[in-house]
């Protein structure tokens, strides 16, 4: 998950999610590889396990 050194913290944190934001949907539909498949699983699994966060009572 992370590119690191042997110290306490890595110098750089690499995401498990890829950056495809510069692509068009048409390009993504034509593209197929394992990295993209993993990313799709991440966002679809993720969707199944999150919940809206609510309940802030503004007290001002």
């Amino acid at each position: 998950m992370h590119a690191g050194t042997d110290g306490d913290e890595p110098e750089e944190w690499r995401s498990v999610m890829p950056d495809v934001s510069a692509s068009t949907l048409a390009e993504l539909l034509e593209h197929d590889d394992s990295a993209l498949a993993r990313a799709v699983r991440r966002v679809t699994d993720d969707s199944a396990h999150r919940e809206p966060i609510a309940g802030f009572n503004s007290a001002l």
């Binding site: 995401s15 999610m17 966060i53 001002l60």
Partner: protein, 468 residues
């Protein structure tokens, strides 16, 4: 096309954990959520052989317009819902429209869409209000302009985050048990569901709070921060038991709220600052002790704690501090009484020992069944706020004595109330706040369980008998 991960330096990641993300980090979070939307839409398109109408429409518009739609929070919300339900029950959102509100102060502009029409807005977790009336729109516009001026002038970093991330506000119905309600969904980055604000101050604080949830959701999309399926426990901001990720959400949101109050004038801001800094620090320390954080999560929360810890030493008037501590303790004891119980077997052993004149056996508090979500404020909180504002807590009631700091009178009054009805939950939590008994202060649910099973026993004597 190449598929590359996002990269954040450790310094940038720590600044994000501290609630001070730089422009580059905010841009990465926006691109991450746009990537998420695109991948969800790709999956949706692949599920059907015929070209769906939304996809044909997307191909027919210029790329910039298509990108605006694919990056929009409502599109992410709809795509998530459509994939989950595999149905076309909710139509895809139209191209972003709605009521566009713009506020400018100095050189910083906030442009946000008041979304009151898209059916998918109901998926944000709160009941959407109906179409905004002209007077309602004017109220939102005025509040936003004044809130924005306040944010830019007093809380510039928070304003910069909002300008970069906030895109949509969905007006929702006011919850009758709350003074104002808002929510943020992991499925709609940059969207906030919010009841009509009572004023610009509440709107500013609410937006500062909610946008933190969006930042944290985007961070968690990039990096796993918390191990899955961990246990639930105490959260200083909710009345129900929460998993570690829920506690982290609260800590991260209230970190920003604490910083907001730190820079606001007046006794109420000082009270909120004193109250929240302790909650955030305690929650962060609990998360670091709890073992549910990943390596990235540990780094993130350490940065959060490093940010709030120096605030604990900042001077606050002793009376304000006392009331802040009282409000925090009130939440903690009410949470325990609401969510923790003692098993029937342990209660029976304790009752047997009491009646036999023996030392109390060990009894563990366990989570009560069905302690779901709620929005409940302590009856003492309005009295505390009144005192903070300088209004006297007059009256002979137990709660009035409690918030005045007259613990002796409060103990007598609460015990009198419990003498009439041992089911009086408010009296139990009040007694736990003011009693000198360690058992009542630390584990009120255990004292309550035994006191109900032995109605003839005097509560003070039971509390002294039980270990704290």
């Amino acid at each position: 096309m190449t598929v590359q991960p996002f990269r954040l330096t450790d310094a940038a990641f720590a600044a994000l954990g501290a609630g001070r993300p730089g422009k580059g980090t905010l841009d990465a979070l926006r691109r991450a959520e746009h990537s998420r939307n695109l991948l969800l839409l790709r999956q949706l398109r692949r599920q059907v052989s015929d070209t769906p109408e939304w996809y044909a429409g997307l191909r027919a518009v210029p790329p910039e317009e298509a990108a605006r739609w694919t990056a929009d929070p409502m599109t992410g919300l709809w795509a998530t819902h459509a994939l989950r339900t595999a149905s076309g029950s909710t139509p895809p959102p139209a191209p972003p429209g709605g009521h566009l509100l713009t506020a400018t102060c100095e050189d910083l502009t906030l442009t946000v869409r008041l979304e009151d029409a898209e059916p998918v807005r109901a998926r944000l977790g709160l009941t959407p209000a109906g179409p905004v009336t002209p007077s309602g729109l004017e109220h939102w516009r005025t509040c936003l302009e004044q809130a924005w001026a306040r944010l830019v002038r007093r809380h510039r970093p928070a304003a910069e985050i909002l300008a970069a991330v906030l895109r949509v506000i969905v007006p929702v119905e006011l919850d009758p048990s709350a003074e104002g309600i808002s929510a943020t969904s992991a499925e709609a980055f940059g969207a906030v569901a919010m009841s009509a604000p009572p004023g610009p101050g509440a709107l500013a604080a609410g937006l500062v709070h909610e946008i933190q949830h969006s930042l944290l959701n985007a961070t968690h999309l990039l990096f796993d921060l918390v191990k899955p399926d961990g246990p639930v426990g105490y959260s200083p901001w909710r009345d129900d038991p929460r998993p570690a990720f829920g506690v982290l959400h609260g800590a991260y949101a209230y970190l920003a709220v604490t910083r907001f109050h730190r820079s606001e004038p007046g006794p109420m801001a000082a009270f909120e600052f004193a109250r929240r800094r302790t909650s955030v620090a305690d929650a962060a320390e609990g998360l670091l002790r709890g073992g549910e954080l990943t390596r990235a999560g540990t780094r993130f929360v350490r940065a959060l704690l490093d940010e709030v810890r120096p605030w604990l030493d900042e001077p606050v008037e002793p009376e304000t501090r006392r009331l802040a501590d009282l409000a925090n303790n009130d939440h903690r004891v009410r949470w325990r009484l609401r969510n923790l119980t003692v098993t029937e077997a342990d209660t029976a052993r304790l009752v047997h020992a009491w009646r036999a004149g023996e030392a109390p056996p060990a009894a563990e508090a366990v989570l009560a069944a069905g302690s779901g979500r709620a929005l409940e404020n302590s009856p003492r909180l309005p009295l505390v706020r009144a005192l903070v504002k300088g209004e006297p807590a007059a009256g002979a009631g137990a709660d009035q004595a409690c918030v005045r700091g007259d613990d002796g009178a409060a103990v007598t009054a609460y015990q009198r109330e419990l003498g009439v009805d041992r089911g009086n939950e408010s009296a139990w939590s009040g007694l736990a706040l003011v009693s000198p008994s360690p058992a009542l202060r630390r584990r009120p649910e255990v004292v309550r369980a035994v006191a109900r099973a032995v109605p003839e026993a005097e509560i003070g004597a039971l509390a002294d008998w039980l270990p704290g």
